[in-house]
């Protein structure tokens, strides 16, 4: 038996109450950006993270990098959830030596060209949204400082993305960062003394709060309402896709789905709506990037829950704010492959797009037909792997570029997870899915082989000159589990 509990020992250890001076309580966490950057002492080899919920209207990443650059900081890793045209000029920070490594989901336009030309010595690490969450949670990537732009925060960092002057809606991608980063800085142009309720960022995760004059360029963050396409080709693809979803008997009570925001994916939702009303069916949840059109289904009672990792328009933002079952989820819950409960695993069907798809159904959403980085991995391979049925929609050719081809330039999503390809020139089913093939044949849905589509495309556009690659590897594409699925070569 142990000795009796020594109360004196406890008193000595904890100290006794001596009174409190209320006025000396720490006031709040608000500091200037410059103060924070100096105080955090961001130096060589450190990793800082951002999110891309403000998309093309993001101002924060540049504000931070500009200050660091002025200080002469070198050799840091930037770890944004994605990069947009707002970050087009980041080549200058690579040239100045500030940025020596980039991990991201997307990279495009001028920065994509810069990277593809070999500007950065270390290859960019491309991860899916689920893969990024996995890398952070597993400790594979350590974030020293997470800078989180929010639309509204209180003085202690309780924050959300759906109030304020430049709302972005869900903060899903940054929720993983805030839990695992060493230091978390919340930045906004609306900071109130009053507590932010509801909040997506809890203040206990936040070290500093920074007020800036403007956190985002409103018109570049998102549009008011995503417009439904009137493009006949996109409508054709969408209708065929909806017909297939119906034929595959997916539209049953409590089914679940995710549709992208591309012209045809969005229209798929519209055609599905008609079928749901006709069959009197209610879906359990819609997942993913949420748009006003999905919100409408929710508000009409056709979809019970919206699981929202990212809002795509202001209608979605308003809904996130007002509809209780429109729920903000983080990237790990969304798609981390090491999290067996991640929701992509509960998807009955996902409709995705592609820059390129080949005979093996391998999909490229990262590099253009010229081999240059101009896309985003996003949740593509995550949802393809998780869903029961993954449908890729795409026109057979875009302009003079074949979308369906012999071999994709880069693989992001392996063909073994892609089940159906719907194009304007015909629908192909992955031979691995004999069940789907049989069901569609039974329902008299016309099917062609992927080889036929490849040949049709080549007949239309003719064989292009091969891309001239250099020896340097400029990008490493990670599959969601962390293995390397492809390398992106320098383009000369």
């Amino acid at each position: 038996m142990e000795d009796r509990y020594d109360i004196n020992e406890l008193l000595k250890e904890k100290g006794t109450f001596t009174g409190i001076d209320k006025s000396k309580r720490k006031k709040n966490k608000v500091r200037s950006l410059k103060y924070v950057i100096d105080a955090l002492d961001i130096k060589d080899g450190m990793t800082i993270s951002f999110h891309h919920h403000f998309r093309n209207g993001d101002l924060l990443a540049d504000m931070v990098l500009e200050l660091l650059d002025k200080k002469g900081t070198k050799n840091i890793t930037i770890f944004p959830s994605s990069l947009t045209t707002a970050h087009d000029h980041f080549g200058q920070y690579i040239q100045s030596g500030l940025i020596s490594r980039i991990c991201t989901s997307g990279i495009r336009d001028r920065l994509g060209e810069d990277i593809s030309s070999g500007m950065l010595d270390t290859p960019v690490i491309i991860r899916s949204h689920g893969g990024r969450a996995r890398a952070i949670e597993s400790g594979e990537e350590k974030i020293d400082v997470a800078f989180i732009a929010v639309a509204h925060s209180d003085v202690n960092g309780n924050a959300n993305g759906f109030e304020g002057v430049s709302p972005c809606g869900s903060l899903g991608y940054s929720m993983v960062d805030m839990k695992h980063a060493d230091k978390v800085v919340v930045v906004s142009d609306l900071i109130t003394e009053e507590i932010t309720i509801p909040f997506s960022v809890p203040s206990y995760n936040v070290d500093y709060v920074v007020k800036v004059e403007k956190i985002g360029i409103k018109e570049k963050i998102m549009s008011g309402a995503t417009r439904l396409t009137t493009n006949p080709k996109e409508l054709l693809i969408a209708k065929r896709t909806a017909d297939i979803i119906e034929a595959l008997e997916i539209i049953k009570e409590n089914f679940t789905f995710q549709t992208g925001t591309g012209g045809s994916s969005l229209a798929v939702t519209r055609f599905m709506r008609d079928k749901m009303i006709e069959k009197k069916i209610v879906a359990d949840f819609a997942l993913g990037g949420i748009t006003g059109h999905i919100v409408r289904l929710h508000e009409e009672g056709l979809v019970r829950k919206l699981l929202d990792v990212q809002c795509f328009d202001l209608d979605a933002v308003f809904s996130l704010k007002n509809n209780i079952r429109h729920f903000e989820i983080d990237a790990s819950f969304y798609a981390n492959p090491e999290n067996p409960g991640c929701v992509v695993n509960k998807l009955d069907v996902v409709v995705l797009s592609a820059l390129e798809i080949d005979r093996n159904f391998d999909v490229n959403v990262m590099t253009g037909s010229d081999g240059i980085l101009r896309g985003a991995s996003g949740g593509h391979c995550d949802t393809a792997a998780g869903s029961k049925i993954c449908i890729v929609t795409s026109p057979l050719v875009r302009g003079r570029i074949a979308t369906v081809k012999d071999k994709v330039l880069n693989i992001v999503t392996p063909g073994s997870t892609v089940d159906i390809l719907v194009t304007d020139h015909g629908t192909a089913v992955n031979p691995l899915r004999k069940d789907i093939m049989a069901l569609l044949k039974e329902k008299k849905i016309p099917i062609v082989s992927i080889d036929t589509l490849v040949e049709m495309a080549e007949k239309i556009v003719k064989k292009p000159n091969p891309i001239v690659y250099g020896d340097k590897v400029v990008g490493v594409i990670e599959y969601r589990d962390g293995s390397i699925i492809d390398l992106v070569k320098q383009v000369i």
Binding site: G399, P464, N465
Partner: protein, 87 residues
């Protein structure tokens, strides 16, 4: 085919091509700006040269702004521009 004046045909909308034909006293010159230059620049040049040969056109400057036009469109636009230039 004898060209009398400069002429232009086509548009710069997707899948189209705008082609300008300028008769001049110098060796022919073909300038191509194309969204798919890397992949199809050579083929576009070959196509244009073959149409010029077919129509016996020389000493001409051809300016091409291509927005991913297929061969049949490039051919139609060049023929239209030549037709207009020959008027």
């Amino acid at each position: 085919m004898k060209l009398n004046k400069r002429a232009i045909a086509g548009t710069m909308t997707s899948s189209d091509v705008m082609i300008e034909v300028i008769p001049w006293g110098k060796t022919s010159e073909i300038n191509i700006k194309s969204d798919v230059e890397k992949q199809y620049g050579d083929q576009i040049l070959d196509l244009i040269n073959s149409i010029l040969r077919e129509n016996d056109v020389d000493n001409v400057c051809i300016n091409v702004v291509d927005k991913g036009a297929l061969d049949f469109t490039i051919s139609a636009r060049l023929k239209t521009a030549l037709f207009r230039a020959a008027k």
